[in-house]
């Protein structure tokens, strides 16, 4: 009015540069789609995507080397702190690996709009069309993940959630084979995801009603000062929880996972199973530890129940699966449960640091192994595409001992056998949970690990101890990209299993200052 100027918001571009790079590359990707001739698109997209991810990773490292900022960036909307940087690093590496996998031919549909089995589809295939939009879509999704894990404000978090999820809904429906299954997965994921987003949004509104702000820090201070509005906060917490736990695939919100993982193109499944889980846990920690950290006696008991249910449901239902991707989906649910035991282990500052570092290490270890496992799945093919049914895997150890051996090694890592990364990951979260006083939870975790071991071992039995089927699947000659993915994942699983100290140190440093508020 009388000369008041609106202060322009300060944006720390340097701190946000990883995200900006990824989003920028995604937008360029869209332009490429619009203007580049069809035959050139892929050869522009692949280097562009990889460069953007490498660039983002390098800037993430540089930020970390410059010392951790102590206040949230972008007017308190984005918290670029130790955990964020660690999670960014992990997401970017995993996304890089997944890009190599996505780059593999023969995974994506020729033309998504063509009705399955129609003349249009045949046309598209004959012309060698390719849905190269997958690259910008993936970059948008990765950018959303980076923001999701770092958002310091519920509104930003919601936007990030949508930016992360919407491209994924599309990507899920782009499988080249079994297109109906893929489209079904896409629709299911979209409907349920939209539903859970609505929960999140409504929970956010209720929490805003209680605290008068969507800022995580303000919510946290409100919890210790405002009184008399408890129902708003309680219901709001529960609804935020539903929205976030859906993304993790924690029981009872796990139902989408097997269907979506099975239907989606396997490279996209690898992306979802690794990076989305990492980002979602970043967001869970931020909401429950930063915003609701002073409120833990209200959400902890419920989270106990969810963690127990998730571990048991994941482990038991996995036993009944006959499809390798569904089995890995249930395994991912169970692992989400193990990670939740770490989320519950909140307490003193030292305890928080230990639990946080354990979760970060777990996410890194699990992410690599998962991508590797799905990469192997893409290589086992028969006439109808990937041979998903477990019975088709019989005797794989005889046809292709090296590949089967590596896959067995990944499975042992999932099962948490010593000298694999999965063991130390599990050890770290269980240790944090025990010192946080959640011993019963850890015992449930140990028992469900034993149950889970059964179905991992069953696949090993199939591969190595059964006679190969006469018309069994062949191992597709791996492309350079796919072999690189498998090799990297196997190397990470070995190194983190034998010599985890450097990564543990890194996770410790990332966790040392906890979250900035």
């Amino acid at each position: 009015m009388n000369g008041t100027t609106i202060q322009a918001p300060t944006i720390e571009y340097a701190l946000l540069s990883p995200m900006l790079l990824v989003f920028g590359a995604a937008i360029i990707g869209v332009l490429v789609e619009a203007f580049a001739p069809r035959y050139l698109r892929k050869s522009i997209h692949v280097p562009l995507t990889l460069l953007a991810l490498v660039g983002a990773f390098v800037t993430t490292i540089l930020t970390a080397l410059n010392g951790l900022p102590t206040v949230a960036a972008a007017m308190g909307a984005v918290a670029v702190d130790g955990p964020s940087l660690f999670i960014w690093g992990v997401i970017l590496i995993l996304a890089f690996i997944c890009t190599l996998l996505i780059n593999d031919d023969d995974q994506f549909v020729a033309q998504a709009a063509a009705v399955p089995g129609s003349v249009d589809e045949e046309e598209a295939v004959r012309h060698g069309y390719a849905q190269t939009e997958v690259y910008p879509l993936m970059l948008f999704s990765v950018g959303g993940m980076l923001l999701f894990a770092a958002s310091n404000d519920l509104l930003v978090m919601f936007v990030a959630l949508e930016v992360m999820s919407l491209p994924l809904y599309l990507l899920c429906g782009l499988a080249r084979r079994r297109r109906l299954l893929s489209q079904e997965a896409s629709v299911k994921y979209f409907l349920l995801g939209a539903f859970s987003s609505a929960f999140f949004l409504y929970g956010m509104a209720l929490v805003y009603g209680y605290a008068g702000s969507v800022d995580l820090k303000t919510i946290s201070t409100a919890i210790s000062s405002v009184s008399g509005q408890e129902p708003l906060l309680l219901i709001g917490t529960a609804m935020l929880g539903v929205g976030l736990l859906f993304k993790i695939g924690a029981a009872p919100f796990q139902a989408w996972k097997p269907d979506v993982y099975q239907g989606a193109p396997t490279a996209v499944t690898a992306l979802m199973a690794s990076t989305v889980l990492v980002a979602a846990f970043g967001a869970v920690l931020r909401v429950f530890w930063v915003a609701l950290g002073g409120y833990e006696w209200n959400w902890q008991p419920l989270m106990w129940g969810v963690a127990i249910l998730t571990m048991i449901v994941g482990a038991i239902l996995a036993i009944t699966q006959t499809d390798i991707k569904r089995m890995l989906a249930y395994s991912s649910i169970a692992h989400g449960g193990f990670l939740l035991t770490g989320v519950i282990a909140i307490g003193t500052i030292k305890q928080d640091q230990q639990a946080l570092s354990a979760i970060l290490f777990y996410l890194a270890a699990y992410g690599f192994t998962t991508v590797g496992a799905f990469a192997v799945v893409t290589m086992v093919r028969d006439a109808g595409g990937e041979a998903g049914h477990l019975s088709r895997w019989a005797g794989l150890g005889k046809r292709s001992p090296v590949l089967a051996g590596i896959f067995a090694f990944f499975l042992l890592a999932f099962a948490g056998i010593p000298l694999t990364s999965g063991f130390f990951a599990k050890y770290a979260v269980f240790a944090a949970a025990i010192s946080g006083g959640a011993l019963p939870l850890v015992i449930v975790g140990a028992v469900s690990s034993a149950i889970a071991a059964f179905f991992y071992v069953r696949v090993i039995v199939l591969m190595f101890f059964s006679e190969p089927a006469a018309d069994g699947p062949t191992i597709a000659a791996p492309t350079v990209g796919t072999s690189a993915v498998v090799a990297l994942a196997a190397a990470a699983t070995v190194v983190l299993g034998v010599f985890p100290q450097p990564v543990l140190d890194l996770a410790d440093q990332a966790a040392s200052a906890l979250f900035i508020r």
Binding site: A415, L419, Y427, I434, A446, R458, I460, V461
Partner: protein
């Protein structure tokens, strides 16, 4: 010189070498040579071992492995560990020699040909892990070996075993994993509650004082060891696994891997949780006695040779566990010696049974008869091994069983008396099996049995020699074992039986 690391590194490198060579024959010879090198190295190490030295764990090496978790690569041996390592490294070359044709797919009704190189590479990896598990002085490192050694054994049973091999392999792995994961919880809790910031075993002794905590942690460790050993009622995986495993793997499984369970009770349960061990002693003794009698009776009823031997082992593990938990010098030393002797006598039973099965293609006792006439050396050595198993005086098991019974009687007379019937039942199952298989009219299918060939004689001779030698002159072994067992028991009893010492300790704080 880092002796123990060398002992582990040689077989691991050997396994890599074995898996790389071109021909199967060369792989076998290389594996045998490597295992003999390890044997010689262990011999040199044992010669330098000083049982009466003040240092408890000799040849110790301690390096930080994962400082963040307080985990060390910590190895070292006392008398108990040394004799068990010796048992392992003696058995491995014998097993390699005995398994010469196990993976070839030759022999009557043998499983189809499998990768020979993989089999021998797995054997060598397993050897390194067996040495590691006994040599670990870091509880976490022990756990790592304890779990990791399941994997090579799992593949040996699952890929090279009998008709039901994959069922047996999975059952073996899942039982062990289940126990192991409970132990993992206890291991983590031990670290967290002790607040020592380290997993080194010597520093954790006496770290847990609260009786309730001790009981819970004891339960976590004990169940894992009881599954591994196995004690009744955790035993049901053993007969399946041992019967389906190839004879060589069965020897290492029952002879060495299962000893990790009883060894763990002696080393970790007793010393880390002395009060809880005292508290649970009656329960463990009851389980042991039930196991002794039950194992023996069920063994009598078996129709399959390997299952029969497996059940006799359950009976023997009852004796060992009873000796460990009797907590007297005699019983403890007897139990340790029993672990070694049982490895040799049961090992030879399994191996000779394996030779029989290789010839006949059946593991049913009823398919044999009168073997003695066609293959006298085979039958004779089988008898000696069997007699050792039933603790005939003059053969090795007698010494240890006698010590266990005497040592137990000192404190728990009634269980000791009941357990003695196990000795009588042992005579029934061994002699009756011998009678059915070796004596009587020669069965038609047995008529063309060749006697032991040179290779098989080389397998059996060292075992029989050890059985007789230890039977007559156990002193060298006991000289090594006794100080270590005394040390263990003194740790256990500090708080319990000698108040004077406890007072001193209290005053010292």
């Amino acid at each position: 010189m880092p002796w123990l690391s060398t002992l582990m590194a040689v077989p691991v490198l050997g396994a890599v070498g074995v898996s790389l060579v071109k021909s199967d024959k060369l792989a076998k010879q290389l594996a045998l040579a490597i295992s003999l090198v390890v044997l010689v190295l262990t011999g040199v190490l044992a010669a330098q071992f000083n049982p009466t030295s003040g240092t408890r764990f000799q040849f110790a090496e301690v390096y930080d492995w994962i400082p963040r978790f307080g985990v060390h690569y910590g190895v070292g041996v006392d008398g108990i560990a040394l004799v068990l390592i010796a048992l392992s490294v003696v058995l491995v070359p014998i097993v390699i020699l005995a398994s010469w044709h196990d993976a070839d797919g030759t022999g009557a009704n043998a499983p189809p040909k499998r990768s020979v190189k993989t089999y021998f590479a797995l054997l060598l990896v397993l050897e390194a892990m067996m040495i590691g598990v006994f040599a670990s002085t870091d509880v976490f490192l022990f756990y790592v070996f304890f779990e990791a050694m399941l994997i090579p054994m799992y593949f040996m049973i699952g890929s090279y075993g009998g008709a039901q091999r994959s069922y047996a392999a999975v059952k073996f792995l899942l039982y062990s994993l289940f126990g192991g994961l409970l132990m993992l919880v206890a291991v983590i809790a031990l670290y967290v509650i002790a607040e020592k910031g380290t997993f080194m075993f010597p520093e954790l002794i006496g770290a847990i004082q609260d009786p309730t905590t001790q009981k819970w942690l004891f339960a976590g460790f004990f169940i894992a060891f009881a599954v591994k050993a196995p004690l009744w009622p955790f035993h049901t995986w053993l007969p399946d696994a041992a019967a389906q495993a190839p004879a060589g793997a069965a020897v290492l499984l029952v002879g060495v891997l299962d000893k990790v369970g009883t060894y763990g009770m002696l080393r970790f349960c007793l010393e880390l949780f002395p009060d809880a061990s005292k508290f649970f002693t009656p329960l463990v003794i009851v389980l042991s006695v039930v196991g002794i009698i039950y194992g023996a009776i069920v063994a009598i009823g078996q129709t399959d040779i390997k299952r029969l031997i497996a059940y006799t082992s359950i009976s023997h593990f009852g004796f060992i566990a009873m000796g460990v938990f009797a907590m007297t010098a005699n019983a403890g030393a007897g139990a340790t010696l029993y672990m070694v002797n049982h490895g040799f006598s049961t090992g030879s039973l399994f191996l000779i049974a394996g030779f029989l099965i290789y010839r006949r293609g059946s593991s049913q006792i009823a398919d044999y008869g009168g073997v003695q006439k066609v293959a006298p050396v085979l039958a004779g050595t089988f008898l000696i091994a069997g007699l050792s198993s039933l603790s005939l005086p003059g053969l090795s098991s007698f010494v240890s069983e006698f010590m266990v019974l005497i040592g137990t009687y000192e404190i728990h007379p009634v269980p000791a008396i009941i357990a003695t019937t196990g000795v009588i039942l042992a005579a029934v199952y061994v002699l009756w099996m011998y009678q059915r298989m070796m004596t009587g009219p020669t069965a038609e299918s047995v008529k063309l049995f060749p006697d032991l060939d040179i290779r098989e004689k080389w397998v059996v001779a060292p075992l029989i020699a050890v059985i007789i030698a230890v039977g007559f002159f156990p002193k060298p072994l006991l000289d090594v074992i006794n100080p270590a067992v005394d040390k263990t028991l003194s740790t256990v009893q500090v708080d319990q039986f000698t108040p004077a010492v406890a007072d001193k300790k209290g005053a010292g704080q």
